[in-house]
């Protein structure tokens, strides 16, 4: 019993690094270009796969932090010191490098502007990433859904997306980030 294929397989695709941005001491946002990206909904994630020269492979899941934007995807990665994949992503990966990813994945924790609001978004640390996709989509789509973000970080300097959140908060009375 292998179940029935509902959609085509989510195949591994080459994703090229087009930008790396330092968010905090431990966090970077990596922007990828994925030429055949089929699009995503805010809140979905991707699986990434790294392959070593000896053939060893590791897979991890990362939320998509960017709103749908053609073939462009942003992943926000926390460096875990004794991790296997995150130190590679944050320390080694450079503009022009390619990795493999597949997605988008997940049909439950998603938000579309047509669903409206109000939205109460609650995140700790890097848990903000999928919520940021929603906040960004809300802004780019011109949604006026009342939205409140409650965001916990270990310190002021560990607040991911701080300046962008401040900016969005300042220009939009419908978005509140206390």
């Amino acid at each position: 019993m292998a179940g029935t294929a509902v959609l085509g397989r989510l195949t591994w695709q080459a994703a090229q690094v087009v930008d790396v941005v330092v968010e905090t001491r431990h966090v970077k946002t990596i922007t990828f270009n994925v030429p055949d990206w089929r699009g995503h909904r805010a809140g979905q994630h991707v699986d990434i796969r790294l392959t070593a020269e000896d053939g060893y492979q590791a897979e991890r899941s990362y939320s998509i932090a960017s709103a749908p934007d053609g073939s462009r995807l942003e992943l926000t990665v926390v460096r875990i010191d004794d991790g296997e994949v995150s130190p590679y992503l944050t320390d080694e990966l450079q503009r022009g490098d390619q990795i493999e990813l597949r997605g988008p994945i997940g049909g439950y924790f998603v938000w579309e502007p047509s669903q409206g609001g109000p939205l109460l978004l609650v995140a700790g640390g890097s848990g903000i990433a999928p919520l940021m996709a929603m906040i960004r989509l809300r802004a780019t789509a011109g949604s006026d859904a009342q939205t409140r973000l409650l965001f916990s970080s270990r310190s002021w300097d560990d607040i991911i997306y701080r300046s962008e959140l401040d900016q969005l908060n300042g220009e939009d009375s419908g978005l509140c980030t206390p």
Partner: protein
């Protein structure tokens, strides 16, 4: 052909024989908690477990009746679709074979249903023949509510979303009915050894 990541190498020590770890998984030692909603807290005096659907006489056990059934200690590896695997987890539970003993059914599928509305579907043959339990203890302790207590399903040969937390019953069906994650992009069957994570895998 995979893309080779320059400078990437195995950093985790091989902490398990390869035949214990399905493709794309890595071994962890803690026990992550992943839920799609709030944790229900059904009092034991209100708890029951039922077998319904394609069955002449539906079966129902109160907590006391359920706990009086013969149970087994089972040690199994578990595999979460989010990529962690945990080896040699020790559970105490009632075999589904015990719950279905003597049942004559034309059903070929089963839906696990839980407090909070979660459901997950699988072929009936995947919960019979010593492959599935209703577990009420983990590591020698009563199953904590965040891990699905008072009782959860244990179907360790499939990804762990096929082992419903807070399970309250099994619905026997002649047709297959995709459950919560199965209708939200995840594979209908979920064999970790064939890496059946998502639709189309």
């Amino acid at each position: 052909m995979s893309i080779i990541s320059r400078g990437f190498r195995r950093r985790r020590v091989a902490d398990a024989p390869p035949d214990r770890v399905p493709p794309g998984q890595y071994v962890i030692r803690d026990f992550p908690v992943l839920s799609a909603g709030p944790t229900p807290h059904t009092p034991l005096e209100q708890w029951d477990f039922s077998i319904v659907g394609e069955i002449d006489e539906p079966r129902r056990w109160t907590w006391e009746e359920f706990r009086a059934l013969p149970s087994q200690e089972v040690t199994r590896d578990i595999h979460c679709v989010t990529k962690w695997s945990k080896l040699d987890t020790v559970w105490q539970g009632v075999s589904v074979d015990t719950l279905l003993d003597g049942v004559d059914t034309s059903a070929e599928y089963v839906v696990q249903y839980s407090d909070g509305g979660y459901t997950t579907n699988l072929p009936l043959e995947d919960v019979t023949g010593g492959k599935a339990w209703v577990a009420f203890a983990y590591d020698g302790e009563p199953l904590h509510s965040e891990h699905g207590g008072p009782a959860r399903m244990l179907v360790p040969h499939l990804y762990f979303w096929k082992s419903a937390k807070w399970v309250r019953g099994l619905r026997l069906q002649t047709w297959d009915e995709p459950g919560f994650w199965e209708t939200n992009g995840y594979h209908n069957y979920g064999d970790p050894w064939r890496e059946q994570r998502y639709w189309g895998d």
